[in-house]
Symmetry: C2
Subunit: 355 residues, 2 copies
């Protein structure tokens, strides 16, 4: 058996790309932001504190994507991460949050750091199991959903989302809907769940390929949520960086073709990656959104250790996402690299039994 690397979390790989590695690790676009994001940015603008809630112009621009909204419904944050972190901190310690599993790896720590308690509902074939969901949602303060999903690549059916909307509304449970991949759906339109009990989290990171700029936001029609989040943010980070907010606002001026063109690129990569892993014999779900696959993999840690050490291939352990015996591959890299990476995986499969 190959020596196991002491990999604890995705953070072990962050910033460690290059040097001949093929990285299926970090979930971020390799494509450039739209040129609009840079054009006309005035760095010599007033750089004193801005509004905690975020620049009015940016919040106002967002209203066009959320029909019936006003700028008051948004809080601009340091990426979707901070939006999520702040939300759970405004609720009571010890309260429960329902979390479909597999989950994005930061969800449990964010919930736990806030003093809340994650309760898990296991997905069936990468999709929310409404029967189990119904059983466990009672008594929770909130539900955290993520469709399209990181790490499953699945998109929940519109009927499922509507049912979640109804169940939670009837029970008075908040839904936190992390929709950072809403512009990367291959199969159908997104359904934006709605209601006073819904808090939507989104970001400019994936849609506009500007992860490092750290601009995200949350939307809520519930004024008390917006106020509580702003109150917390006043103490924890103040306004979101002003230059990043300007860049996000400018990026929104990119033509619709920018996003459509990206979707084409992602779809081609998705098809290549999915078929490639199928051809290698992996058992996996066909991604419907985002840019991840989560194939079953026996001896996952041993295989990943081998991949990293001898084949310079990075991927993430499924166990970090609540999915042991799987590996997560991001296909946010060009097809040539995906092909090279798949070749290395094929070679490594000769040394460790994974199927």
């Amino acid at each position: 058996m190959a020596e196991l690397l002491k990999l604890k979390s995705p953070a072990d790989f962050i910033g460690k790309q290059g040097h001949g590695y093929i990285s299926f690790g970090s979930g971020q676009p390799d494509l450039p932001p739209p040129k609009e994001a840079f054009e006309g940015i005035n760095l010599t603008r007033d750089l004193r504190y801005g509004l905690i809630q975020g620049e009015f112009a940016l919040r106002d621009a967002l209203t066009h994507e959320y029909p019936g909204s006003t700028a008051e419904n948004f809080v601009i944050t340091n990426g979707a991460s901070e939006a999520l972190d702040l939300i759970f901190r405004i609720w009571g310690k010890g309260e429960k949050v329902l979390l479909p599993r597999p989950y994005y790896y930061s969800y449990p720590p964010i919930i736990e750091m806030a003093g809340m308690v994650p309760v898990y509902t296991d997905m069936v074939e990468g999709r929310i199991d409404l029967e189990d969901f119904r059983k466990k949602v009672t008594g929770c303060r909130a539900v955290l959903i993520n469709s399209p999903s990181n790490p499953t690549g699945r998109v929940e059916a519109i009927e499922t989302l509507k049912e979640i909307e109804r169940i939670t509304q009837n029970l008075g449970v908040y839904v936190v809907s992390d929709e950072v991949y809403k512009d990367l759906i291959y199969e159908r339109e997104n359904y934006h769940i709605q209601g006073n009990h819904v808090i939507t989290v989104n970001s400019f990171s994936k849609t506009y390929c500007m992860c490092g700029v750290r601009v995200g936001y949350l939307w809520s029609a519930d004024k008390s949520i917006v106020e509580a989040v702003c109150e917390a943010k006043t103490h924890t980070s103040m306004n979101t960086n002003l230059v990043g907010q300007d860049m996000a606002l400018h990026a929104m001026r990119a033509p619709k073709e920018y996003i459509l063109h990206q979707q084409e690129i992602w779809r081609a990569r998705r098809d290549f990656m999915y078929q490639g892993l199928l051809d290698l014999g992996f058992d996996l779900w066909k991604p419907e959104g985002a840019f991840y696959v989560l194939p079953r993999c026996r001896n996952a840690r041993e295989f990943l250790s081998l991949l990293v050490r001898e084949y310079k291939v990075i991927a993430y352990l499924g166990e970090w996402f609540g999915a042991p015996d799987r590996l997560r591959f991001s296909y946010a890299l060009d097809v040539k690299k995906i092909e090279e990476g798949l070749g290395r995986i094929r070679d490594a499969m000769k040394k460790v039994s994974v199927l």
Copy 2:
């Protein structure tokens, strides 16, 4: 008696300057950043995720200000606020943090949101009372100090800082030293307390007049602290915005004269504000650092309500800083405006008894 405004916190005023108001409220420089902060910034750089710990070049540049340090001792954060917020989140819930009172208004909520418990030691004449400090520090996980202090404007004596350094080291208590005003001391040099038990928090906001860019950092010689903070930040906000980090790095190239020139401006304002309030009969401490005064003020809420409503003067209630019967004035505005503001205060004093 004038109708009382329902002022709950400084946030009620943020972003509400202008429109004829003289604001002694928000604590931020009105001066521009050094031109170096803008020159040569390349917005079309790689904007994918950066290191959670912060850009190496910026951390490396900071080592020159912390003799004997390496880039590994720093974590770049979304302002000093996030550095403080992260630090308390890595310690155990229910543990105690000693906090000199008056305090910066975000300290208690940051500590409490982290699930820790603030324990207060009351200052004497705006300075830490070592006798009371010694009594209360035992059993605390950490002490949070802030010299120069917001809101008192006081600077602790070097002997006091050295004694705090010793006491805490002997007891195995961490010292979190918020030194965001270290470059704004009028009376003497700063003493940078040291040791493996010290965590220094600092920022580019005040020194380089770029509050809205939100770049701060923490320094620690204790590797386990740096790692725990990075681990938390991985989930709560990821890397600090990359463009802001570039601007901070560039700002550090400003000539020493930039900071010296600022200090002259601040000293002139300090002298004018201090003398002006003395002339009006207020009882207050002479500021030794930062840009705040905290005069005694009877009927503080009533007086502030009058100032805001009828005289368009903004100040902060001392009670937000743990100092009831005082008002906090920031003198981060030009002397002409300070003069105008003092005139309005003089007029308002005819209607409410404050001395």
